[in-house]
Amino acid sequence: MASRDRVRFNVGGQLFETTSTTLANAGRESMLGALLDESWNPGQPEYFIDRNPACFSTLLDLLRTGALHIPSNVPEKLLYREALYYGLLDHVRGAKWGPFDGNTLRLADSVPGRAPGDGTAIRGAPDGGCCVAHGSVVHVYNWMLEERRPISLDYQQVNDVGYIDANSIVITARERLGKGDGGMAVFSAATGELRHRFRVEHGRQPKSFTAGALSLAGLDDHRIFSSCKGRLNEYGIGVWDHNTGQQVDFFYEHPGCSLGDADKLQWLPSKNCLMVATLFPRTDNCFIGLLDLRDKSIPWCWSDAGITMNLEDKRVLHAIAMEDGHSICVINQYDDLGFIDLRAGNTNSAGTGVRWSSRSKLMNQKVPYEESCYPKLATHNGQLFSCMNDSISVFSGSEHVLTSTLRRSYGGSICDFSIGGDRLFALHNEENVFDVWDSPPCPII
């Protein structure tokens, strides 16, 4: 009976023997699954496949063990190509790196870019690909880090970029005076084609605008938010349905908070609010607020307006709402983390209410002559990440203890980083190089 389960392959002249149980792991939607399906004449003594035997061997091992081991003599791209042939590319991707953990990250790859000038933003895709915004162009990479067709919105300066899903990229760009150019649009990640543009209408009249920071509401909520600046009164936060591209709402600026200039937007599902942060150095006074779009109110806000500032004072340079929705984490120019409680009180003014956790570790190391970037923050699965100069710090636990530092000597300071598809992408300021960090698959034992 055991022999009936056995299957023999001759791949490019090399014999392989395996079982249909092992091959079942490939799934019906793969070449091997179809080959053995009963609609085709199964039960042949031997199947000939005119492909590379070394790659087949690797892929067969993947089906047997679920783990991927690429021998040194097999180029990775070749293996991907073969996997695509067999319809096993998703298997390979799933085995290439493990579940994300900031404390087990290893440098997986480093990709040099060619664009001139400073990078604006890097974003990780849900499937492990990424895109890099440089000036007016967004370079798109799939998870194999092959570059796809670059994207641009009328070649206007890109302000922010984000993935709606693995195959849809949304771009916000500067408007060009007098033309309908710029604004905001969705593109196909695979082909770089424009899917649709988002329009801002005031009194049923479309207006050109500059779109800034972006945020998506979530999985089942199709809303997308962006800060908008126009030439008349189109300052505020626009809301669209990303499926249809239709504008669904607009939150006009209240006096005292420049929403159109926001550096960071973040949707907080637990509060049904949008966090908006307008920060130094874009404005002199930092403003962080929660917008309730249902009644157009600002139920909570924080600002450091009103306290005299000199350059050495701690300024909030980036902010992120923590995943539990109870607090906002901020960072200053000395790489100190601070927390603002969202539950305490309605409104904090005059810069009070930040609980700085002074680590004071990097202050002295700061090298004045080196061109530095403003720090950024990110959260993932309870871990907090911050980048400063050329390294990324990982903080874990409820007390946010520094547990890892990711650093590489090449490329200069990090201007942006992003976590997506169980990978961390860090964009360096020099050479336009970006690093890909991921966690290894589960160890053998």
């Binding site: 793969s30 070449m31 179809a34 080959l35 004449n41 000939f48 005119d50 695979a190």
Partner: protein
Amino acid sequence: MNSQSQRRKNFKIEAFKHKVELDPKYAERTWKVLEHAIHEIYNNNASRLSFEELYRSAYNMVLHKYGDKLYSGLVATMTAHLNKIAKSVESAQGGLFLEKLNHKWADHNKALQMIRDILMYMDRSYVPTSHKTPVHELGLNLWSDHIIHSPNIQARLQDTLLDLVQRERTGDVINRGLMRNITKMLMDLGSSVYQDDFEKPFLDVSACFYSGESQQFIECCDCGSYLKKAERRLNEEMERVSHYLDAKTEVKITSVVEREMIANHMQRLVHMDNSGLVNMLIDDKYDDLSRMYSLFKRVPEGLSTIRDVMTSYLRERGRVLVTDTERLKDPVEFVQCLLNEKDKHDKIISTAFNNDKTFQNALNSSFEYFINLNNRSPEFISLYLDDKLRKGLKGASEEEVEVVLDKVMMLFRYLQEKDVFEKYYKQHLAKRLLSGKTVSDDAERSMIVKLKTECGYQFTSKLEGMFTDMKTSEDTMLDFYAKQSAELGDGPTLAVQILTTGSWPTQPTAACNLPPEILTVCEKFRTYYLGTHSGRRLTWQTNMGTADIKATFGKGHKHELNVSTYQMCVLMLFNSADGLTYREIEQATEVPALDLKRCLQSLACVKGKNVLRKEPMSKDISEEDVFYFNDKFTSKFVKVKIGTVVAQKESEPEKQETRQRVEEDRKPQIEAAIVRIMKSRRVLDHNSIVAEVTKQLQSRFLPNPVVIKKRIESLIEREFLERDKADRKLYRYLA
């Protein structure tokens, strides 16, 4: 050197070739192989094909940028096959048409799966980047276009399906499995295909069918059987959906049946002669009612239609009931009738109408409406209770008592004039307590508790006072006899009930002249009582007492007579005289004339109780009559109870009097409410005051706006309020 450079010059460098050009015929040749394979697959000859080779061929075509050719070739080949299939399906005769279609559909699906297997690589890499439809979806679309929407098939398919449904509706057995496969095919082709090619016409045809059928049914069926048929049809359609239609169709088809069979005929059904809703209610047809409820519930306005008819029926029936002069003769019967009516409809609502709250409300509001049509309802309800608490509940268990009381409370809740009820209840309770006729103290107290929870402490405080008085009296009498027994000797035994003024419904009446034997004891008691309770005043209510006296008639017949105090006074006169005229009796006793006549009547004119003899013999008492001790009185009982006039339905003048007293009592309550409201509001217009007063007092009675106006005027006179100088409609509170 020279020659060398010369040679180099001659050396020709060819341009680097990017790609080795394939044999230009390669693509054509490969496509032929694949095309042949597709043919073989459609012809069920796949066993001779090598999957690996075909897969690799398709892969190579895509890899070498012949994806377009491959894709367009696929479309052309598949289209050609589908056109052939269409021909063969078209040629199928009669009933074989669906079989053939189903068979070919299964074949196509299998072929499609295999073609997709071969072209899997194209599906993964070429299709997404060139915006083409994936192979599987393409196969379904082509099937829709060339088979389902082929001019010779589309209408025929639709007619065949609808015909099968029609046949099943008229009782034929059809091949449901085949039907299921075909509808499933339409669903697989996309919801729009299923909807456009089947569901919409299906719903139209069904509407037409049920419109006709319902018309036919309603002409020849009574309401009950019509509803049965409608219910069966509804269930059939739901069953049909579960067997071979898309689950989403259920709502749509049931709404068609609901509209055609129920909504369009609702009014006619409920009002149907001899079998409509009213007849069902009268005959307690729980099944039919329940069916009507569940069917009508499905359509808009359905339940409200039932409810409206039920309400108007209940109101009319109730109105007839409470204004029926025959019924009004017996208050107990009257209330029992109301209770029965309530029970009957409660049961209908709980068994047939799913205990629907809105129906309960309708029932309540109907009762509230008609009970208050008769202003004697409060009196009658109190009389009913009186009857129950006197004798009706004898031997009943505690639970049974509770049930009766609860039911009466329910009627009580409907009363608008709760204060009138209170008046009567107080009178009746007083009589029960004083005559010791109450069956159970527990039942009495339970009733008080119920009234208290319903209307609050104020409502029952006086009633509770009456109970306290009874208890205190008992203790006082025990004490009196314990202390005074020596002095009293063999005189008559006195039982005094001391009633607190105000708690009891007593009217100040002059005491009659008591016989000297009694008077002595009474005086002793008065001395004793005032000795222990200084500062009190005792007044004898001789109109309310009773007495047991022993009498010896001719031949030594001894009897114990149970009589009222007035009767006792009369009888005692005959100890010293054999015959007395009416005037002599009246003079001696000083009993009020009306009462005296009544008590003489019961002593002389009732057969079997005539301890006195009257001359001349007649039913009525006149002032010239002479009364004699009836020596010949006999009775088989030792104890004879001489009937006193028990709590009876009030006579017309008494009723007027009670009403007047109620009206009088309402005045201060209305005034108090006005003052309370004005104290908090300071300024208010007339209509608002009336509204608020009504709201505050409606738990006790519905104040008449005219009376409220009078009370306001009275308050203005007494300077509690004043009219606003600018706006005469406004009143102002004067602190």
